[in-house]
C-alpha cells in the first residue's frame, strides 16, 4: 500500500452508520444496505460531481466531501430523513485528513484520521441523530459563519482508543436563541452607552440644567413642565 498523493488533503467526512447492523439477518442487512445506497444516491445529488467520494464500510458508508462543509452538513441532515423509511441511521461528521491509497491495480482505497474520527463520532450517535466534531464545526464556521450558530454542544466523549471528542449536534432552535441573546445584548449595550452619555452630561453641567435642556429639546414650556412633574409625583406618591 502506498499513498497516491504525498500531501494529506482535508475533507469533511460524513459517516452514515446503520445501527445494530451485525445483529440483523442477512436478508435485512441486504435490504438496509440497498436502502442506504439509495439514500446516498439521493442526498449526494446536489453536491458537485467532483466534490465527493463514497467509501464502503461493513456497516455503513462514509462520504468524503471535498471543500464544502456546508454541503456535508446538508448531506448529513438530509440522510436522516431516510429514518422515516425504516433505515436506522446514525451519522458522524468530521473534518480531517484523508488520503487516497493505492495498493496497485484495482485496490484503491482511502485512509486518514478524518475518516477514523467520523466513524468514532457515528459510533457515539444514537439512532436518527447527527453528531459533529469540533474540527468540522471550525471548518463550517470558516466556510459559512452563520451556520455554526446552529450547532449546540452534545458533550465530550471518549472513544475506545481513549481519545476525547468534543461533539455538537445540529439544533434548529440554537440559532434563534443566539439571535435573541444578541438582540437583548444589543439593546442593553445601547441603553448603557446612551445612559453613560447622559450621565457624563449631567456630571459636567448639573442635573437640573441637563433636565431643563432635555425638556427644552422635546418642546415643553416651563408651565407644562411644572404641571407634568406634579402629575408624575402624584402618580408615584412621591412627597418631597
Amino acid at each position: 500500500m502506498k499513498p497516491a498523493n504525498a500531501a494529506a488533503n482535508l475533507a469533511s467526512v460524513v459517516f452514515l452508520k446503520i445501527q445494530e447492523f451485525a445483529r440483523r439477518p442477512a436478508q435485512e442487512q441486504a435490504r438496509l444496505r440497498a436502502q442506504l445506497e439509495a439514500v446516498v444516491a439521493v442526498v449526494t445529488a446536489d453536491l458537485r460531481p467532483a466534490g465527493w467520494i463514497a467509501l464502503d464500510a461493513a456497516d455503513g458508508i462514509a462520504i468524503a466531501v471535498l471543500d464544502d462543509p456546508e454541503g456535508a452538513l446538508r448531506l448529513a441532515q438530509r440522510s436522516l430523513t431516510a429514518a422515516a423509511a425504516g433505515l436506522p441511521l446514525s451519522v458522524g461528521v468530521n473534518h480531517g485528513a484523508v488520503q487516497i491509497t493505492s495498493g496497485g491495480r484495482g485496490t484503491d482505497g482511502m485512509t486518514g484520521d478524518g475518516i477514523a474520527v467520523a466513524a468514532s463520532v457515528a459510533e457515539f450517535a444514537a439512532s436518527t441523530r447527527v453528531l459533529i466534531s469540533r474540527s468540522f464545526r471550525d471548518a463550517l464556521a470558516e466556510a459559512s459563519p452563520p451556520l455554526d450558530a446552529g450547532l449546540s454542544p452534545a458533550g465530550v466523549f471518549t472513544d475506545a482508543g481513549l481519545r476525547t471528542h468534543e461533539l455538537f449536534f445540529p439544533d434548529k432552535s440554537a440559532a434563534g436563541r443566539k439571535q435573541r441573546r444578541l438582540i437583548a445584548a444589543g439593546v442593553a449595550a445601547a441603553v448603557v452607552i446612551v445612559g453613560t452619555g447622559i450621565g457624563a452630561r449631567a456630571a459636567s453641567g448639573g442635573h437640573q440644567k441637563v433636565f431643563d435642556a432635555t425638556m427644552g429639546k422635546v418642546g415643553m414650556s416651563a408651565k407644562q413642565r411644572e404641571s407634568w412633574l406634579r402629575g408624575l409625583r402624584e402618580k408615584v406618591g412621591f412627597k418631597p
Binding site: M1, N5, A7, N9, L10, A11, K17, P25, A26, Q29, A30, A34, E37, P49, A50, G51, I53, A54, L55, D56, A57, A58, D59, G60, L66, D67, V98, T101, R105, T107, D108, G109, T111, G112, I115, A116, A119, S120, A122, E123, A139, A141, E142, P146, K178, Q179, L182, I183, G186, V187, A189, A190, V191, V192, I193, V194, G197, I198, R201, S204
Partner: protein, 389 residues
C-alpha cells in the same frame, strides 16, 4: 468415480467389486450386498497397531458410525451398516452416482445460482444432522457429492473424528482439513455445529469467487490465515455476486462462533432468499435481453474488475491507518482525480486547515452580530451626542 482392481475380495457380508478411491484413513470400495442385491460404497479405516489405541479407535469409529447411521435425510448419505474385518473397520453406505464438488470446481467455474443452490442443500443437510446431535467436522468440497437433477448429498459424517492423528498442534488434537477448518478447530477449542457452518461458508466463498480462501505454504500458515485473515466480500472478487450474499458469507465466516449463524437452517433460509433474488434477477435480465435483441447500444465497460479487492471494516474497527475501499456503487472518479492530481487552486484549498473566523468577518457575514454591532454603534453616537452637544 474410477474403478480399480480391489485388494480385498470380501468385507463382512459384502463382496468387493472395485475400488472407488483412497483417502487418509483408508480405501473406499465398491461392493455388493448379496442379501439385498444392492450396490454399496464401503469405507474402510485401518485400525491402529497399538492394542490400547486400537480399542479406543474402534470404539470411536463405531460410535460415530452409529450416530451417522441414525441420519436419514435427502441431503445426507445413508449409512446402512458397519463392522470389522481383521484390522479393518468398515462402513457400508449408499453408493452415489455423481461427481464430487471438488472435481466440479476444478473442471470450471460454478455459476452463482448453482453455487447458492448447492450451499443451500448442504446447509439443510447439516441443519438436520445438527438437530440430531451429529457434527460433521470436515465439510469440504470433496465431501459434497453432486448428483443428477441438481441434488446434493453430504458424505463422511462424523468421520473427521476418526482422523485424530492427521493434524496435531502444540495445543492438542485438531480434526478436519486445514483450509476448511473453523478458527475454533484450528485453535483446538471445543467444536460444535457452528464449526460446520464456518466450513460451509468457506466452500460457498470458494464456489462464488472461484478462488481459494485460506492459503498457505504449510499447515501453520493456513491455520494462521484461518484465524486472522478477513476475506473481502465475494462481490468484490466476482461482480456477479449480489450484495445479499456478501452478508450471508460474512456472517457464516465470522471468526467468533457466537456472532456466526447459530443454526444451519437459518443459513439455508438466507441462501434460499438469495437464490430467489438471483432467479428474479436472471428472469429480469433475460427479459431485457429479449427486448434489446434488435437494438444497438453504447456499453460502458465494467470497471468492477479494476476495483478494490479488500474488506470493508465496521465503524468500530476503523482507525487512522484503516483503509476503506472505494464504493463500487457510485461514480467518484472525478473527485479521486482531484485528490490524486490536484490543480494549483485545489492543492491550496484542499490542504488548508480551517482558521478561526475573525470578528470583522463574523460581523460582516452574520446578521445577528451585524445588528448588535450597528446598535452599539448607533448607541455610541447618540450617547456621544448627548454627552458633548
Amino acid at each position: 468415480m474410477t474403478k480399480k482392481k480391489p485388494q480385498l475380495a470380501q468385507l463382512g457380508r459384502y463382496k468387493i467389486t472395485g475400488e472407488l478411491g483412497r483417502g487418509a484413513m483408508g480405501v473406499v470400495y465398491k461392493g455388493e450386498d448379496p442379501a439385498l442385491d444392492r450396490t454399496v460404497a464401503l469405507k474402510t479405516v485401518i485400525l491402529s497397531d497399538d492394542a490400547a489405541g486400537k480399542d479406543e479407535y474402534k470404539k470411536r469409529f463405531f460410535l460415530e458410525a452409529k450416530a451417522a447411521g441414525r441420519l436419514s435425510h435427502p441431503q445426507v448419505i445413508t449409512v446402512y451398516d458397519f463392522g470389522q474385518e481383521g484390522d479393518t473397520a468398515y462402513m457400508a453406505m449408499e453408493f452415489l452416482k455423481g461427481k464430487e464438488l471438488r472435481t466440479r470446481m476444478q473442471e470450471g467455474s460454478i455459476s452463482v445460482p448453482e453455487a447458492v443452490h448447492i450451499a443451500e442443500q448442504v446447509a439443510e443437510g447439516l441443519g438436520y444432522a445438527h438437530e440430531h446431535g451429529v457434527v460433521h467436522r470436515d465439510v469440504k468440497p470433496s465431501n459434497i457429492m453432486l448428483l443428477p437433477h441438481d441434488k446434493v448429498k453430504i458424505m463422511d459424517f462424523g468421520i473427521a473424528r476418526m482422523r485424530a492423528s492427521d493434524h496435531k498442534t502444540s495445543t492438542g488434537l485438531v480434526l478436519g482439513t486445514p483450509k476448511y477448518m473453523s478458527p475454533e478447530q484450528v485453535s483446538g477449542s471445543p467444536v460444535d455445529h457452528r464449526s460446520d457452518i464456518f466450513s460451509l461458508g468457506v466452500v460457498l466463498y470458494e464456489m462464488l469467487t472461484h478462488t481459494k480462501l485460506f492459503q498457505g505454504e504449510d499447515t501453520p500458515q493456513i491455520f494462521h490465515s484461518v484465524a486472522n485473515f478477513q476475506p473481502p466480500p465475494p462481490s468484490r472478487v466476482n461482480s456477479e455476486v449480489p450484495p445479499m450474499l456478501d452478508f450471508v458469507v460474512e456472517r457464516a465466516l465470522k471468526k467468533d462462533p457466537s456472532v456466526r449463524y447459530q443454526d444451519a437452517f437459518e443459513l439455508a433460509a438466507d441462501l434460499r432468499s438469495a437464490l430467489s433474488e438471483l432467479v428474479d434477477r436472471e428472469a429480469a435480465a433475460a427479459g431485457e435481453k429479449q427486448r434489446d435483441r434488435d437494438t444497438t447500444k453504447t456499453m460502458k465497460l465494467d470497471a468492477d474488475s479494476l476495483r478494490p479487492v479488500f474488506p470493508a471494516p465496521t465503524a468500530a474497527a476503523i482507525g487512522s491507518d484503516t483503509r476503506l475501499p472505494m464504493s463500487l456503487r457510485f461514480e467518484c472518479s472525478n473527485a479521486i482525480e482531484r485528490l490524486t492530481n490536484p490543480t494549483r487552486s485545489d492543492r491550496k484549498r484542499l490542504t488548508r486547515a480551517p482558521h478561526p473566523v475573525g470578528l470583522v468577518r463574523r460581523i460582516w457575514r452574520e446578521p445577528g452580530k451585524r445588528l448588535l454591532f450597528l446598535s452599539i454603534l448607533a448607541a455610541a453616537l447618540v450617547g456621544s451626542a448627548i454627552a458633548v452637544v
